[in-house]
Symmetry: C2
Subunit: 340 residues, 2 copies
DNA sequence: TCGTAACAATGAAACGATTCAAAGAATTGC
DNA sequence: GCAATTCTTTGAATCGTTTCATTGTTACGA
């Protein structure tokens, strides 16, 4: 198991100085064709591969960007990640991906790891309220862009979707189709997105004097969590059910849908209208195609990288917040037909 | 923007030698309590964070493992990735994730990137036939484990699921429920998994003299690709339809299902039985809950890391292949009721 | 009090790339 | 043919950590 060739080995093999090899790699124009050929041949013969650690040590920073998301399994984030990777690649950077799983400890681990790696900057969708940790990053001069979270512009740049507006859109739609006893499913409400969507929904409900909004807190944001909320609703039986349900994301909505439709006593949308959030690919292929709120995920990922590049390049610490507006997607799960 | 503190700064600030600071970090037992306290205080005051590039340069290798998957958006891989990350974390390693998107060029980019990073090893779900590139890795002594792909044991370790067996399971199930005019949806067939699943299905069909298997090649493995195949089936109209469809993955199956059920002329499973592959979370919440073939994704990810650790630790280049057996999951989409 | 052992702390060398001032070679103009 | 200029090449210094042989310190038994 021979340790891999270094630039020095290449230099010896080609009978040139190490600086020349470096120039071949970084400033090919400075080197004569003859020498270049010899060096390239040596590189090929020795199977030389640049050692990025050494480069990075010299350069003082890496060519990677850290991205910490709340849940890679969530298609919303998968889509953001993809867009961010593509955008970063255009700048010649690579993305290191971390999945905090809504867990502050895992998040902290990744932050530490990425700092040790001297990433150029950090895109993060933070867990709950982690201002202290983020302030620390700021002090250390690690450019950071918050993703899917509005930030104090004095401190950070951020990209976000207006969750309040999205919540309003969803609830307003339910109200517009004649629903009055609404329920909101989501949790924990310590998650900002959940809280904002709820707030927007409440804003809409207040516009209709005879409408009510019940909050059903879920254990997480998964299909399973939704199913468990749905099961508890089913136990209530017919009369106690809401007639319109707004779920904080599509996974929850799909879970709720499973519970309600499995017992063949509740009909969607006749008895209960259901709307989710995110408009993931699967919304359209649910038992009853799911109405949802669509977020511009590609724009989110791309813009996040752009804002980070701005911060990295400009020395002056000016921050920008970009807020995208979500969009209502109507499908069968909120169909108006209450008379079957 | 002050460059971050180095170990030397810490040493000065605490009035000790650099070696002592290093010892505090790596061998706390070698340092007296008094000194340790002073050093830790200095670290805290200066906000010192280890520079991983320097560590790595000295050590000769990183503490990261490269993982290249064919498609992060695919829940099958998402699940494998998650398991691999968790398993790696137990060994104190981190996973660098790359998404080749079935594109050989992107795959090559990631391989190069990870080599420059001097990853401890590589887990890869290779695109098509890339033996040359992989042979190169082998020559360079980069321990590599193939994921979801059987390998020549003389050359690589690998973890895989027996796709031929899975294809057989799926087709055999369709035949057992009385279907005879089967169709296979998947593509491109240059993807090994697709080819193997098809082969297994063909094996099952040969066991029934009156059964036929038609191959419908799709453009990729997405819901959209499935929908497009489904649309072309719908155009055929009633008589020309197969009575049992086996899709190379669940996304395709969901797409096919969308097409078939949108026109309210074809009933699943009465007219056409449908089975997918992977048993993703959404299979159960489809318009008609989808039968599928379940792969042990967690075991796959975990085992891949274990095999890699074996290779890294043992100097002798012995390889192992672990093959998992998939499992049939029966749901409504292949229900036996042909009489409604 | 001295010798020995155990324990702490030191600091130079090494890892592999990049940089840059300086030296050397080739080319040009006169 | 020579000086001036441009083009190539050189190699030592540097980045921040870990390692390890060495030195310094303390404690203990004789």
């Amino acid at each position: 198991m021979n340790r891999s060739a270094s630039i020095k080995d290449v230099a010896n093999h080609a009978s040139v100085a190490v600086g020349t090899v470096s120039n071949v790699l970084n400033y090919p124009d400075r080197v004569s064709q003859r020498t270049k050929d010899r060096v390239l041949k040596a590189i090929d013969e020795l199977g030389f591969v640049r050692n990025d650690a050494a480069r990075q040590l010299r350069a003082g920073h890496s060519r990677t960007i850290g991205l910490i998301v709340l849940d890679v399994g969530n298609p919303f984030f998968t889509s953001v990640v993809r867009a961010a990777e593509d955008a970063a690649a255009l700048n010649g950077s690579a993305v290191l991906l971390g999945d905090s799983g809504h867990d502050a400890a895992r998040e902290a681990n990744y932050i530490d790891l990425f700092q040790e790696q001297r990433v150029q900057g950090l895109l993060i969708s933070p867990v709950g309220d982690v201002t202290e940790r983020l302030d620390l990053l700021r002090e250390r001069g690690v450019p950071t862009v918050l993703v899917d979270r509005l930030a104090d512009e004095a401190k950070f740049s951020s990209v976000a979707v207006d969750d309040d507006a999205g919540g309003y859109l969803a609830a307003r739609h339910l109200l517009d189709t004649g629903r009055r006893r609404l329920a909101f499913v989501g949790g924990p409400t310590s998650i900002r997105q959940v809280a904002d969507r709820l707030q927007g929904a409440q804003r809409a409900v207040k516009e209709e004097p005879d409408a009510t909004l019940e909050v059903l807190e879920s254990q997480g944001q998964t299909v399973l969590a939704g199913r468990s909320v749905g099961d508890s609703l089913v136990e209530r039986g017919g009369g106690g059910l809401p007639d319109g349900i707004f779920c904080a994301n599509d996974l929850l909505a799909l879970g709720v849908m499973q519970s309600l439709t499995m017992t063949h006593t509740v009909r969607i949308p006749e008895d209960v209208a259901l709307i989710g959030y995110d408009d993931i690919d699967f919304a359209v292929s649910a038992v009853v195609p799911l109405s949802s709120i669509r977020q511009p995920t590609e724009a989110l990922g791309r813009t996040a990288i752009d804002l980070l590049s701005e911060e990295v390049e400009s020395q002056s610490p000016t921050h920008r917040s970009v807020v995208f507006t979500p969009e209502l997607v109507v499908r069968q799960s909120t169909g108006t037909s209450s008379a079957g």
